[in-house]
């Protein structure tokens, strides 16, 4: 197949370009189809269950104008960022500490792996019990979720580091610190970035869930409050803004990934 296709493309460069644009056109058409489907569905089911796309756009525009949505988005982003920073720092540092203590690692590894199975959201009532109804329980939830994703990735990443490169670096005079930084960290960066792609959206989701339960600000509060007021357009507006935030974060991560992993011969087109 490839053998036959390749010369055809080479002969008509316009066809390859058309094929590329074809994908883009297809994507846009699919998006239009989805919005149209949404519109039809909203009409069929009624505004008590599904808000119409236009109503949602109007609501977002209005609440952006009043500053309401910006305030709630800021609250959610701030909590997500702080919780993420705490979980991420712990998730990176702990595996590097354990790397130097193989016996301790062997001892606690089964417990760590078993604790991965704990459904973290189920702990939220406990977090509220222990940490009150301020930001603290939400930070705990976000931190724990992010920690596990990052920890597992970095832990596995450290295991997969080419031992020959580490030995070579040692022969070349690198200290353990320099090896951690210039060999181990560099070789697990792809693992770390893959973890970020999962952990960052999860941090936002966890914050929103926390806001459903406690507090009086944030996108989670905005959505839940609208639901209680039977303001379905408000619910949808909150959801759409949350989606936009997560997509924007993912776009930034993809940019970061391309920069940091520019040396890699493969995976450059992989996106999540």
């Amino acid at each position: 197949m490839t053998v036959l296709d390749a010369p055809a493309d080479a002969g008509f460069p316009g066809r390859a370009a058309l094929r590329r644009h074809g994908v883009l056109i297809g994507r846009l058409a699919l998006a239009a189809l989805l919005v149209a489907g949404w519109h039809v569905l909203a009409g069929a089911i009624g505004p008590l269950y599904v808000a119409a796309p236009l109503a949602v756009v109007e609501r977002i525009a209005a609440d952006l104008g009043s500053g309401e949505l910006i305030r709630h988005s800021y609250v959610t982003l701030r909590l997500s960022a702080i919780g993420f920073a705490i979980g991420c720092a712990a998730g990176v540092v702990l595996p590097f500490v354990l790397r130097r203590m193989p016996r301790l690692t062997a001892a606690i590894e089964p417990y760590i792996l078993a604790s991965v199975g704990i459904p973290k959201y189920a702990l939220m009532p406990l977090f509220i019990l222990w940490a009150g109804i301020d930001d603290a329980p939400k930070l705990l939830l976000v931190g724990v979720l992010v920690f596990y994703v990052v920890f597992i990735a970095v832990f596995a990443g450290i295991r997969s580091v080419d031992r020959k490169l580490v030995t070579m670096a040692r022969v070349l005079g690198a200290s353990e610190m320099a090896i951690s930084r210039h060999v181990v960290w560099k070789s697990l960066t792809p693992f770390f970035l893959a973890a970020l792609k999962i952990a960052l959206p999860r941090a936002v989701s966890a914050t929103i869930i926390g806001e459903f339960l406690v507090g009086n600000a944030g996108l989670g509060y905005y959505i839940e409050n609208a639901r209680q007021m039977v303001d379905i357009a408000g619910v949808f507006a909150g959801i759409v803004v949350s989606i936009i935030i997560v997509l924007a974060i993912n776009a930034l991560l993809t940019l970061l990934d391309r920069r940091v992993n520019a040396w890699r011969p493969v995976d450059r087109d992989m996106r999540l």
Partner: protein
């Protein structure tokens, strides 16, 4: 030769690997190995595949422990049998060019060469100039910002070679560094190596299974037998330098040495 103490001395070195299920006795890869290397000497060691050549260099480089024996560097014993005290590279005094290039794939060619200088805290204008000089000497000028996966196998070998030369360790171990290359690239790299060696006259211990290569490069060639490895031949290579690696095949002295060594290598 003057009677100054050898730079590097290997005494009674032995290596045994753990017994596997079904094996009666422990497997000695190397046993009772003695040899020494003088300052500035280019020593090559030939032996058949599986004669423990890599294991030998790993022990000298202190990346692997010896079961028995001792290693002296400038008459000082190095902790070769104690796994806790191993000092890979003996504090940057023993360079090691391994069989695989072991370049850091996320660093460019130049950054790989600068790596030892950086981690040893010796990165300055002078050492950078030396790195640039070496890059140029092996024909890598213009490839400084290429990543290893963008370079050919021969170029990667050159990078790994000068990554060790750049910090100037007193002894350099080389483990069949040109093994996986095509014949032409090989001769080119051998010529490069001889030229670089002539500039600084480093002490080199070069391991290979290729007898012609062993003779072409060396001042002296040792022959190892199959496991458990021991030295069964010691040949002074009295072919005058500078040598033309390609033209050696027709040299009668080369032919005589080749036949003498060939009869010992099984």
């Amino acid at each position: 030769m003057t009677m100054q103490p050898p730079l590097l001395e290997v005494r009674g070195l032995a290596k045994r690997f753990a017994t596997r299920v079904g094996e009666e006795a422990p497997r000695w890869v190397i046993r009772d190995l003695d040899f020494s290397v003088a300052e500035g000497e280019f020593l090559t060691i030939v032996g058949p595949s599986g004669s423990g050549k890599t294991t030998l260099l790993n022990m000298i480089a202190q990346v692997d422990t010896a079961t028995e024996g001792s290693l002296l560097f400038r008459a000082q014993p190095a902790p070769v049998t104690n796994p806790k005290a191993l000092n890979p590279g003996l504090s940057c005094q023993i360079g090691y060019v391994t069989q695989e290039d072991n370049l850091l794939p996320w660093r460019t060619a130049l950054d790989n060469v600068l790596f030892p200088l950086m981690v040893q805290g010796r990165l300055n204008a002078e050492s950078r100039a030396r790195a640039a000089m070496l890059m140029e000497a092996v024909g890598l000028k213009g490839f400084e910002s290429h990543y290893p996966h963008e370079l050919s196998g021969g170029m990667c070998k050159r990078v790994s070679l000068i990554r060790t030369l750049v910090y100037d360790p007193p002894v350099i171990l080389m483990d069949e560094p040109f093994g996986a290359l095509d014949a032409q690239t090989r001769v080119q790299l051998q010529t490069d190596l001889l030229r670089l060696w002539n500039l600084g006259r480093k002490t080199i211990v070069f391991v290979t299974h290729d007898i012609a290569e062993a003779i072409a490069l060396a001042d002296r060639t040792l022959v190892l037998c199959r496991a458990p490895a021991k030295i069964i031949g010691n040949h002074i290579i009295d072919i005058p330098r500078p040598r033309d690696v390609d033209g050696l095949l027709a040299n009668p002295r080369f032919v005589a040495l080749y036949q003498a060594i060939r009869s010992q290598v099984q």
